[in-house]
């Protein structure tokens, strides 16, 4: 359940932004979460609702954009799609893969008023 800590991280970013930009309410928060980031979106929504109570982001909608996993296959010398960290290269079957995308956890943008 590190999603609780992640939600607190999101709230911190939202609050820093509110202090900087001077908005009083957040209507929606857009996150980018990679398929390999080890984050459960349902737990994220649940904890986000809990930590934002009584804050500028209370009742804000959480929009989660999935980012598919992508790795560099050293054998093929090309990028391939991966769904999990232990996937083999779909072309050559090698495990010599380096994840290049899909492990990010980012606050992308906010809709505020």
């Amino acid at each position: 359940m590190h999603e609780m800590a992640l939600s607190e991280g999101v709230l911190q970013i939202v609050q820093d932004s509110a202090a900087r930009e001077g908005f009083s309410r957040v209507k929606s928060v857009w996150l980018e979460i990679g398929a390999l980031a080890g984050v459960d979106p349902e737990a994220m929504r649940f904890t986000f609702d809990a930590v934002t109570r009584g804050t500028v982001a209370e009742q804000a909608t959480l929009e989660i954009v999935d980012v598919p996993g992508k790795a560099w296959c050293m054998q093929c010398g090309t990028h391939v799609a991966v769904r999990q960290r232990f996937d083999a290269c779909p072309k050559c079957g090698s495990y010599q893969l380096q994840v290049v995308e899909g492990d990010e956890m980012k606050v992308k943008e906010l809709e505020v008023e």
Binding site: M4, A5, Q15, G38, V51, V56, F86, Y95, K106, E113
Partner: protein, 304 residues
């Protein structure tokens, strides 16, 4: 006094019974301050009773964390608009981690972050390592557990200074907690700092503590498919220590399959087979630590 380093908000997290508070003063770690004094004699000291088990250090060596964040209400406009953020959720943690890394690197302290399931033998492995190494190099330990200071007491019994961090409801240590712990421990230059993370193969994977290496410990009494079940932690670790190998004759654990699984997740992971009780393989582990420490010293020399 407002925290000038981190502006930390906290509550249930304690360091040896002392609640980490927003209003505290940071000392420069490693200076002549050996204590971590908090200016707060107000409200949430719900763990006062725990401070009676303080031992070893005179400032109280037990941190305890866990409550929600600070609240902020900012008056402003009512017109809806989009604000671009593009910030990593863990950016704040990563800033603390960078500060920790700087502190450690500058002082040539090797920091290892030990992660595993509960019961893998982490504390036994660390106790033995401390007993065997402390004649050569000073060691201090940051102990993370949700509750109790049992592990810190075990570590102290082996002769090293240890600081217990209780994470309360938290399932992992973060870089902020470790920064405070380092302040309190004030590790010697060119020493070793072991961080024993909360027993959990999931959450600690995401949190950079500023350590030089994550070391995952897997015991042969667990399943050889754990690297596939919990890939993130094996992907984040540089070394897998396969512990309790003295029990292999009594088990059907497939060592080769386990290592193959770990390498599927992380082709670069190094593997050592040890038994912290019989001592088998421990010299190789110490050699690995010594080489890692040498790289830290070489890095500091390059920066100097």
């Amino acid at each position: 006094m407002m925290c000038t380093v981190c502006g930390c908000a906290s509550g249930e997290v304690t360091v040896e019974g002392q609640t980490l508070d927003r209003d505290h003063q940071h000392d420069e770690p490693g200076g002549d301050h050996s204590h971590h004094h908090h200016d707060h004699d107000h409200h949430h000291h719900k763990h006062d009773s725990e401070s009676t088990h303080v031992s070893g250090l005179d400032h109280g060596d037990h941190h305890h964390y866990g409550q929600g964040p600070a609240r902020a209400h900012v008056p402003g406009l009512t017109q809806a608009k989009m604000v671009q953020i593009e910030t990593d959720i863990l950016s704040k943690n990563d800033q603390y981690a960078d500060a920790n890394r700087h502190f450690l690197g500058h002082r040539e302290i090797l920091a290892l972050n030990f992660v595993s399931s509960p019961g893998s033998g982490k504390t036994t492995l660390l106790s033995r390592t401390i007993t065997d190494l402390q004649g050569d190099v000073p060691v201090c330990v940051v102990e993370g557990d949700q509750q109790t200071s049992n592990d810190a007491e075990r570590i102290r019994a082996s002769g090293a200074r240890a600081l217990q961090v209780n994470t309360g409801k938290g399932c992992h240590l973060d870089a902020h907690m470790v920064g405070h712990a380092m302040e309190a421990l004030a590790p010697d230059d060119q020493s070793l700092m072991f961080i024993e993370n909360v027993g959990n193969l999931v959450c600690p994977a995401a949190f950079d503590l500023g350590e030089h290496h994550k070391v995952v410990i897997l015991s042969v009494t667990e399943g050889e498919d754990k690297p596939l079940k919990y890939p993130d932690i094996f992907a984040a670790s540089d070394l897998m220590v396969l512990n309790k190998v003295d029990l292999l004759p009594y088990l059907s654990f497939d060592v080769e399959a386990c290592i193959a699984n770990a390498r599927r997740v992380n082709p670069d992971i190094q593997v050592l087979q040890v038994s912290a009780t019989s001592g088998e393989g421990m010299d190789e582990f110490y050699a690995w630590i010594s080489e890692a420490h040498q790289r830290v010293s070489d890095g500091a020399a390059v920066c100097a």
